[in-house]
């Protein structure tokens, strides 16, 4: 059995007049089983470009993507029958209702009236959007519109789902609903490629995470893999500034919006506390999270 997804040396530059922007630069990764795989990276790191290439919309300059062994470059028709996409920044058509979106999308991809109706019914119930299913989308809120986009994409019975920032603007409860659907899809042994800037979402959902920077893969693994690659297991957050010279020998000090964070080993905690003092409780100690991994892997060029 071929791997569900193999991304091989993908390169893509956008050329506009005399300007050329490198979006992907020998980007490669592999997903060896069906799972939820998240792509994390800063704005402009190339995630959407990758999704466009993998969903057969855009040709790369070189490289290829194989979904279950089929090349997206050479056999786009076969690929299109097996994928589904939530495009970044899409929105529903204001004249139509969410129900009509799902129903007519199903018709457009070739389903019979009966099957389209059944599928529409199911996804509306699963996403719990009955209350606004018959409201014209012009009259919906931002999150309700985004849920409509998701309902369309998730209604397709695909092998690989590409979700490019699918939960943007959703409230906590709706987001959890969407997570449940994504997890149901995983249980059905399908592949989900998820792009998100919500690191809590990536932590909860992802079986594996790919960190992308400047169009290249920086690291891939489970959350635990990435954590251990960081070389630290504990974060100590100081809500006021500490003297770098004193603590930097005990770990990596990074800036935080409200102070500083020292990434270190659990064994060092006592010594750190002794050195900086207890600071009247303005210290939080916990395990390193995905945000620490993210910032330390792609954050070096923050001030560029």
């Amino acid at each position: 059995m071929p791997d569900p997804i193999v991304v091989s040396e993908l390169s893509k530059s956008y050329v506009n007049g005399s300007r050329s922007t490198v979006a992907l630069d020998s980007f490669s990764f592999r997903g060896n089983r069906n799972m939820i795989l998240s792509l994390l990276g800063r704005n402009g790191s190339g995630k959407t470009t990758f999704a466009k290439i993998a969903t057969t919309q855009l040709m790369p300059d070189s490289g290829d993507v194989y979904l279950n062994g089929t090349s997206v470059i050479d056999e786009p028709e076969e690929i299109r029958a097996t994928i589904s996409l939530v495009p970044q920044e899409g929105r529903p058509f204001g004249h139509l209702t969410p129900r009509e979106h799902v129903y007519y999308y199903q018709r457009m991809i070739g389903e019979t009236r009966e099957k389209a109706s059944t599928i529409t019914e199911m996804i509306i119930e699963e996403l719990d959007i009955e209350s606004f299913q018959n409201t014209q989308c012009v009259n919906l809120s931002g999150g309700q519109k985004q849920t409509t986009m998701l309902a369309m994409a998730l209604s397709k019975d695909a092998e690989t789902y590409f979700l490019d920032e699918p939960t943007i603007g959703l409230d906590v409860i709706t987001r959890k609903r969407v997570w449940e659907v994504i997890e149901r899809i995983r249980r059905e042994r399908k592949m989900v490629i998820l792009t998100t800037h919500y690191l809590d979402e990536a932590s909860v959902l992802s079986d594996e995470i790919c960190i992308v920077s400047h169009g290249r893969l920086v690291s891939q693994g489970t959350l635990n893999d990435l954590r251990s690659r960081l070389g630290h297991d504990t974060r100590i957050r100081f809500s006021t500034r500490v003297d770098e010279k004193i603590v930097s020998s005990m770990g990596t000090l990074v800036d935080d919006e409200k102070g500083q964070i020292l990434l270190t080993e659990s064994g060092n905690v006592e010594e750190v506390l002794k050195t900086v003092g207890y600071m009247n409780g303005r210290i939080e100690i916990g395990p390193v999270g995905l945000d620490d991994v993210f910032v330390s892997m792609v954050g070096e060029d923050i001030d560029e």
């Binding site: 893509k12 855009l58 004249h95 018709r107 991809i109």
Partner: protein, 249 residues
């Protein structure tokens, strides 16, 4: 019918509902817009040229309605591509570009249908039209519609910002419907300009229809042959240069 064909028809029908029937039903104003220019022209022609000129106004109106619908298709296609990002979903869902254009354009056709029916009825009323000549006119309208829908699609795939379409659309409708000899006769143009006019497909649409209503079928057929060749050229150019899946954006 084979399964593949049934699926294609469902795609076209779905798009026709989404871009035609439902919006027409819920926001009928576009219907008025599409009919407004050919009817205004008919009105002026009637005022200045009286009843004899009415036929010219109806033949011109028939073609103008088609061009108006193709112009509207440009903004519809761009709206679906840029604003909604629906074209991304269509491409990655395996809806073929041809089915996409036909579906979207058929949706649009609903808006031009009342105009077509009106002008066609007027032509039948004003001329001793035969069945064959009638079929000729309907075929011409259909080919014109297909040809200009394809040109609109080609344009839409090359434009990346909503606002960039309006100058293109204005020039498009002037170039293909206002200036060429669809309301007047091509012979009234001085020679060098006449050749320029022959380069515009709508000139032939008008010539075929004018020859059909005067029951000069041989003439109509010759023009139709040239017109069909032009349509074939448009199909090839669209196939080669439209940006459905490319390396650009």
């Amino acid at each position: 019918m084979s399964d593949a064909w049934t699926r294609k028809l469902r795609a076209v029908h779905g798009l026709m509902m989404v871009n035609g029937f439902i919006p027409l039903h819920r926001r009928p104003l576009a219907l008025v817009a599409i009919l407004s220019t050919p009817f205004s022209f008919l009105f002026f022609i009637y005022i200045f040229g009286h009843a004899q000129a009415l036929l010219a106004g109806c033949i011109g109106g028939l073609i103008f309605t088609v061009i108006n619908s193709a112009t509207m298709l440009q903004s519809d296609l761009l709206f679906f591509k840029i604003d909604l990002k629906f074209q991304q979903i269509a491409v990655s869902s395996g809806i073929s570009p041809l089915n996409y254009v036909i579906g979207m354009a058929s949706g649009n056709m609903l808006f031009m249908l009342p105009g077509l029916v009106f002008f066609m009825t007027m032509i039948v009323y004003l001329t001793p039209l035969t069945v064959i000549a009638g079929i000729m006119i309907v075929a011409t309208v259909l080919v014109t519609w297909l040809m200009f829908s394809l040109i609109s699609y080609l344009i839409s795939t090359r434009i990346r910002e909503m606002k960039d379409i309006w100058p293109v659309s204005v020039i498009f409708s002037i170039l293909f419907a206002v200036i060429p000899p669809i309301y007047y006769s091509v012979e009234s143009l001085p020679l060098p300009y006449r050749y320029v006019a022959y380069a515009v497909p709508t000139t032939f649409s008008a010539l075929i229809i004018k020859n059909s209503v005067s029951l000069n079928l041989a003439g109509a057929l010759i023009y139709f042959a040239i017109f069909a060749a032009e349509a074939a050229a448009v199909i090839i150019i669209t196939y080669l240069f439209a940006d459905w899946r490319t390396g650009r954006s």
